[in-house]
């Protein structure tokens, strides 16, 4: 007998993430306050908001790295996020990589942790993020911040996740690489991956994001589809 709570077949396949009345308290401070949202599968969501708006906390709860103080979370059809973490790719502020290892060693190590699941090879991932030409003996402690960001994206992508959570992936990345990374995200979305991308660089996801979600003080204050946004014009391109 299958568990109706965790069996994706019993849930709508179109819902990648469902949050109902989610709050997260750190002491008396509410990082998230009674937040409810449903995110459709196979879409690319840009998550916007000022520092302290609760974006990272939201991403960590969806990834299963933090538990909500109140409310219900359903990710990829499971209300127990721990059961589906293998299907989630996560890129944080930090690289989640070992500085003492080379790019290939890092990727091979993390691939090993996903053994038994389909994973891209280290070589394919390095090509995808444009790091294949880097000296293979160079440890990532010697990488620039932008190169580390690209490698962190490769690590997050290695298990071909159904849900990819990216926390400020464009920080310290040069313009050309930003465009390449955004293109890569669009390709993943086109293959059916759901992406939630926190960014302060709106222009990076212009023409790529399907929906823009703005947060303030731990809750969502506005959702806007790409179509709505385009019809308003490009006046918001510079907004933060």
């Amino acid at each position: 007998m299958t568990d109706p709570v965790t069996n994706p077949a019993n849930n709508s396949n179109s819902e990648a993430v469902v949050l109902e009345g989610v709050s997260k308290l750190f002491g008396r401070f509410a990082a998230l306050h009674d937040l409810s949202v449903t995110l459709t599968a196979g879409q690319l969501y840009a998550l916007l908001g000022e520092n302290g708006a609760g974006k990272t906390t939201l991403l960590r709860i969806v990834a299963g790295l933090a538990r909500p103080t109140r409310g219900a979370v359903r990710v990829l059809g499971s209300s127990n996020v721990r059961l589906v973490t293998a299907r989630i790719g996560y890129m944080a502020h930090s690289t989640l990589l070992y500085d003492e290892l080379t790019a290939r060693e890092n990727l091979e190590y993390f691939r090993g942790l996903y053994a038994g699941q389909p994973t891209a090879s280290a070589e394919e991932l390095l090509v995808a993020v444009g790091l294949d030409a880097v000296d293979p003996k160079r440890r990532i402690g010697q990488f620039s911040q932008g190169m580390k960001q690209r490698l962190a994206l490769a690590r997050a992508m290695l298990s071909s996740p159904d849900l990819l959570l990216l926390d400020e992936p464009f920080s310290n990345v040069d313009t050309r690489s930003i465009a390449a990374m955004a293109q890569l995200m669009a390709q993943m979305r086109d293959r059916g991956t759901t992406l939630i991308v926190i960014t302060h660089q709106l222009e990076a996801l212009a023409g790529v994001a399907d929906e823009w979600i703005r947060m303030r003080a731990g809750t969502i204050i506005r959702r806007e589809s790409a179509m709505d946004r385009n019809s308003v014009g490009t006046g918001r391109a510079g907004e933060r």
Binding site: A66, Y90, A92, S94, L97, Y98, L101, Y109, L113
Partner: protein, 224 residues
């Protein structure tokens, strides 16, 4: 993925990181050497006295040195928040734990091997009991220190004063094992009493604490 392969993966990574950074090895070695040498000068013992106190001094030196290694062991996973990636991966949490325990065991064992000749020279030691029993005590004692230390180091990883917290938690818990190690070592060095009861106590301690650590580690790893 088999548990053995996952353990080997973590172990290989930890050995590689240590080989390149030498964070734990250098500090452990110098710390253990310092304690052994300082005590040798402080007490200046005769050969007979040495056999009575060497077990205590040796194990206390190793206990303190192990703390240094254990603090480094999880710090690596905190740098760049790698621990989050490990929590998300589907590989068994116990594989991560056992990989770390084995890596720490090898680091401490290497320090023991390097420091043993210095110890023998400074304390003018000659083993009067069975040498293979001494090796057995060293293996069981090192495992006791390392398995508990790795577990409690993970437990204190998110506390603000984790470097202070680890000895505060680990020392009281390790007292029965420490007593068994010291008594067994002293009995072997002096050759006066049979050390087997202490060795059995140490073996039971290892089995109990390894089992408890494996049962609880996943909860500790995923705690906020």
């Amino acid at each position: 993925m088999s548990l053995t392969r996952a353990i080997a993966l973590h172990l290989r990574k930890d050995l590689r990181l240590e080989w390149r950074s030498k964070d734990a090895a250098n500090s452990m070695l110098f710390f253990a050497l310092l304690v052994v040498v300082v005590f040798a000068f402080a007490f200046d013992p005769l050969a007979e006295e040495s056999r009575l106190i060497a077990g205590g001094i040796g194990w206390v030196a190793l206990l303190f040195a192990t703390i240094v290694a254990l603090n480094q062991s999880w710090s690596r996973e905190l740098r760049n928040s790698v621990l989050d990636a490990l929590r998300l991966a589907p590989a068994s949490a116990n594989a991560l734990f056992l990989g770390k325990v084995l890596a720490n065991f090898l680091f401490v064992a290497a320090v023991e091997i390097l420091i043993a000749p210095v110890f023998v020279a400074f304390y003018n030691l000659r083993v009067l009991g069975s040498e293979w029993q001494l090796v057995l005590v060293a293996i069981l004692g090192t495992w006791a220190l390392v398995v508990n230390g790795t577990f409690f180091s993970a437990l204190s990883i998110r506390t603000r004063n984790r470097e202070l917290m680890l000895p505060l938690i680990l020392f009281p818990i390790s007292l029965p094992a420490l007593l068994a190690m010291v008594m067994a070592t002293t009995n072997i060095l002096t050759g006066e009493r049979a050390p087997m009861d202490w060795i059995k106590l140490l073996a039971v301690y290892d089995v109990v604490f390894t089992t408890v650590s494996l049962l609880l580690f996943e909860i500790v790893l995923n705690a906020e």
